[in-house]
C-alpha cells in the first residue's frame, strides 16, 4: 500500500497534481486565483476608505455601505482562499449552526438596546 502510495505520489508530482484532493491542484491556476483575489481585496479596501470620506452621506448610510463592501471582501477570502465554495456538506452544516447562533447573538444585542426599564424617559 505504501509502495502504491509512493508511486501515486511520484506520478502526482510529475503531473503537478495531488492524489487526495477531490479537484486537481494546478499551481498556475492557483497563482492566477490568488492574484485576482489580492487585486479584489485591494479594490474593496480602497472602496471602503473612499466611502468613509464621502461628504454628502450620513454615518448610518456610510456604515451600511462599508459593511456591505467588507462582506464582499470576506466572501472572497472565505469562498476562494478557504475553499468554502467547494466544501463538504459537513462543513456547511457546521457553519449553518454558527450562522444561527451568531444571528441570535446579534438579535439579543438589538433586543437589549431597546430593553429599557419601565418609566425610562429620553431627553
Amino acid at each position: 500500500m505504501s509502495e502504491l502510495k509512493t508511486v501515486r505520489q511520484h506520478n502526482a508530482q510529475l503531473v503537478g497534481e495531488s492524489e487526495w484532493h477531490e479537484h486537481p491542484v494546478d499551481y498556475r491556476s492557483y497563482l492566477r486565483r490568488c492574484l485576482y483575489v489580492f487585486l479584489a481585496v485591494l479594490c474593496t479596501t480602497a472602496l471602503m476608505i473612499w466611502i468613509s470620506f464621502l461628504p454628502h452621506y450620513g454615518w448610518p448610510a456610510k456604515v451600511g455601505l462599508i459593511l456591505c463592501v467588507a462582506c464582499v471582501n470576506a466572501f472572497l477570502v472565505a469562498g476562494l482562499l478557504m475553499h468554502l465554495l467547494s466544501e463538504k456538506k459537513m462543513i456547511y452544516t457546521l457553519l449553518a449552526f454558527v450562522a444561527v447562533f451568531f444571528a441570535g447573538l446579534m438579535g439579543l444585542t438589538i433586543y437589549a438596546m431597546h430593553d429599557m426599564p419601565l418609566g425610562t424617559t429620553f431627553h
Partner: protein, 259 residues
C-alpha cells in the same frame, strides 16, 4: 497506536479529522469575536450623539496592515499549493514570507499602540484642554512638554476627521496648571477600551498562528520526509486558521478605523 483519518477522509464526514476539528474551533472563535463585536454595537449605539471618536486611528498604518495581512493570506495558500504539487522549496519560501509578513503586522500594530500610549489629553485648571504627543514628562521637572494644541471643549476632540488638519505646536505646561492628565490607553474611554481589546485579541491570534506556521517551517517539517500528505494537511489546517485571522481583520479595519 495509529491516529485514524489524518490523511484519508473519514467515510461519514468526507473529510479528514483535523479539518473538522479546525472548523469546530473556528466556529467557537466566531462566537468569541462576535461577542466583542456585539459589545461594540451596544456601546456605539448607546453613546451620546457626537461623542463617539472618529479619525483617532492612523489610517495609513491600518491600511498597510490590511494589505500585509491580505498578502500573508495569499502566501499561506501558495505554501499549501506548493505542498500539494510536492515542491517543498516553494513551500519553505512562501511560509517564510508569511512569517515575515506576520512579524511586520505585529510591528506596525506595536507602533500604533505606542502612538496611542504617548498621546495625552491634559485638562488644565483654567478649563482648557491640551492634547498631543508627549515630548517631555520628567517627574523632576515642574513642567511637561507636548506637541499638540489647546481646545476649549472636550467635544472638539471627538471628530478629528471633520477638522482641518490641526497643526501641532510645542506646548510647555507647568505642572501646577494640570488638573488631570491621561494618555490614550484602554482606560481613556469606551472606544479605546474596545480598540485595545479587539486588536489585542486579534494580535494574540496572529502571534499564535505565527508560532504554528513557524513550527511547520522549522522543526515540524521533518514529517514531510516520512508522510508528505499528512504534512500537507497540517499546512492546510494552519492556513485555515490564518485565513480566519485575516477574515476578522477585514471587519476590524472598517469598524475601528473608518466608522
Amino acid at each position: 497506536m495509529e491516529i485514524p483519518y489524518v490523511v484519508q477522509p473519514r467515510p461519514d464526514t468526507g473529510i479528514y479529522n483535523a479539518k473538522v476539528g479546525i472548523w469546530l474551533f473556528l466556529a467557537s472563535e466566531v462566537m468569541l469575536f462576535g461577542a466583542l463585536f456585539s459589545a461594540y454595537v451596544l456601546l456605539r449605539v448607546g453613546a451620546v450623539p457626537g461623542e463617539w471618536p472618529h479619525g483617532w486611528q492612523n489610517l495609513t498604518l491600518g491600511t498597510i496592515n490590511t494589505l500585509v495581512l491580505a498578502t500573508s493570506a495569499i502566501t499561506t495558500l501558495l505554501a499549501w499549493v506548493a505542498c500539494k504539487v510536492r515542491q517543498f522549496g516553494k513551500f519553505k519560501f512562501f511560509h517564510a514570507c508569511t512569517l515575515l509578513l506576520a512579524l511586520a503586522f505585529l510591528c506596525i500594530k506595536s507602533e500604533e499602540y505606542r502612538e496611542h500610549l504617548t498621546h495625552y489629553e491634559i485638562q488644565l485648571t483654567d478649563g482648557r484642554i491640551a492634547e498631543g504627543d508627549m515630548r517631555e514628562n520628567n517627574p523632576q521637572n515642574d513642567y511637561v512638554v507636548i506637541d499638540g494644541r489647546y481646545v476649549a471643549d472636550e467635544k472638539e476632540l471627538y471628530d478629528l476627521r471633520a477638522q482641518k488638519d490641526p497643526k501641532p505646536e510645542e506646548i510647555k505646561i507647568p505642572r501646577g496648571q494640570i488638573k488631570e492628565m491621561q494618555n490614550y490607553g484602554p482606560w481613556h474611554n469606551d472606544y479605546l477600551a474596545l480598540y485595545f481589546t479587539l486588536t489585542g485579541l486579534h494580535a494574540l491570534h496572529v502571534l499564535g498562528g505565527s508560532i504554528v506556521i513557524g513550527f511547520l517551517w522549522g522543526p515540524g517539517r521533518k514529517l514531510w520526509e516520512t508522510d508528505p500528505e499528512h504534512f500537507t494537511n497540517r499546512v492546510e489546517v494552519s492556513g485555515l486558521f490564518w485565513h480566519f485571522v485575516d477574515l476578522v481583520w477585514i471587519f476590524l479595519f472598517p469598524v475601528l478605523y473608518l466608522m
